[in-house]
Symmetry: C2
DNA sequence: CGTAGAGTTGAGTGTATTCAACTCGGGTGG
DNA sequence: CCACCCGAGTTGAATACACTCAACTCTACG
């Protein structure tokens, strides 16, 4: 059946999973559901009913402000999953919507938890996924807070490139980017108009090219330099086998005083 | 001994913890360490050696850009804890530093994990804590991305007020805010100069007053309105006993199609 | 052929930045 | 005891990046 193939592939970036993990995922009993573009999978203020794995298409976490403006908190690509907070939060504090036609896998949180309790590597992988999500939000915070529009755009593009590569959805120097400029604007805290100007600036500089939903990276090196991009925050290299196999060792963890440096704060 | 009192108090906002949880925390075997202001507890690029609970003083997660500018990702107040990602990440992707003289509790991640595996309520509380952290970062992203400087400042002030109230570190309408304006600027993605002007604007409008490290809320209602602040994202109300006691039930979780609304995306 | 959504462009505006100077208070050393 | 220094805060003036408003193009689609 090979359900959740991309999900599995993404988690494999953290932990070397094997066939038993693979089969456990298949036996999750997830329902596969097609979802049109622009539909909410999770609605702010409502209870979260299940975990959702995005199999195909794009989605995003977002909030709407009183005046109708939108801030996208995270772009979601195939293989990503959402809804785990439903286990501890009574209500969602942000919404999640599809941005393109999508296909999702749906199942109760408990199923995932039960599975994680029996499969150590999957548990580690799921935890890795959560911390990686946080790191990606951090990246957006740095983009919006401290980088110029063109730097932010470059950084986001490179992040998406790496994330899509991981799940086999990007070519050597290009990938499908089926988002409107308005969506990009909401993700970067900019206006649609300014995103437009920024994109064509990047194009004029020969860095990237975006047309007909296809993004092409023309000069990766200069783009990386412009963005100050360092992919290590995505933590795509598998963690060491010791951590993989059981959380054990790390025998040096309890040593040493925590403080040392004292940069000007 | 009553170690980690504020940590316990904060977690109690999520789950009704009892004496056995209390004692389990005491028996963590944490070392208590005083740390001067401006010291790194966790350094970007290095392995994370232990979990750190902030008992007294302020700290922050942050990153430094190439040009020396800083973006603060999260302000940390007494009762907060950091370092859990050390279990799955080989290296920290951001640093954590004290902002004031502090006192911290230090122990290996494994101790916390072992404890969580034996105490269900603590496990739920720790998970709640992680999702709440995420929600707070979301709030900052919305601040920086879509709100004006004065709105962001108002929002941050109200968040800190609620967080400090939770651990008993805020009065009815005031709390100690021992941060420089430069620190606030780095947290809000602004410049020091503009934070200064924003603060005195808020003061001129009779909303808040900040002097000698004491922040006073003069008009909570108008401040809340200005910020568009809704405290529900902090999830301070205890979750239902059913979720508290064992992750079970939620029998309705597997039902229904996920999609429904179709707001203009 | 007409409409709607997405993208593009120009002109004017504004919020926040940059640069720079200056105040204030606390600490230190001559 | 005073001079000096330093960090933090304050203020002004000029600049810049991004926003607003508005018009217009292009393409897909009915």
């Amino acid at each position: 059946m090979q359900q959740a193939a991309l999900f599995f592939r993404r988690l494999s970036a953290a932990v070397r999973l094997d066939e038993s993990d693979r089969e456990a995922l298949d036996r999750l009993g997830a329902r596969q559901v097609p979802v049109p573009a622009g539909n909410d999978l999770i609605v702010e203020g409502e209870p979260i009913r299940q975990v959702v794995i995005l199999e195909r298409g794009w989605a995003c976490r977002y909030v709407l402000l009183e005046d109708g403006r939108r801030q996208i908190l995270q772009l979601l690509v195939p293989g990503d999953h959402v809804g785990e907070s439903g286990a501890v939060f009574a209500h969602a504090d942000h919404s999640i919507a599809t941005l393109t036609p999508a296909r999702v896998l749906v199942f109760p949180v408990e199923a995932l938890r039960a599975l994680a309790s029996r499969h150590v590597r999957l548990r580690v992988a799921l935890e890795w996924s959560k911390f990686r999500d946080r790191s990606m939000i951090h990246a957006r915070l740095i983009d919006i807070g401290r980088r110029s529009a063109s730097q932010s755009m470059a950084h986001l593009i490179l992040e998406l490139y790496h994330r899509l590569r991981l799940v086999g959805a990007a070519g050597e120097n290009c990938f499908a980017l089926p988002l409107t400029q308005e969506t990009l604007a909401d993700a970067l805290g900019l206006t649609m108009v300014h995103v437009n100007r920024t994109l064509r600036q990047l194009r004029a500089d020969g860095l990237v090219d975006l047309k007909n939903g296809l993004l092409t990276i023309r000069d990766r090196e200069r783009l990386t330099e412009l963005a100050g991009f360092d992919p290590s925050y995505l933590h795509h290299a598998p963690v060491s086998p010791s951590a993989t196999s059981g959380l054990g060792d790390e025998s040096d963890a309890a040593t040493g005083a925590p403080q040392r440096t004292d940069r000007a704060v």
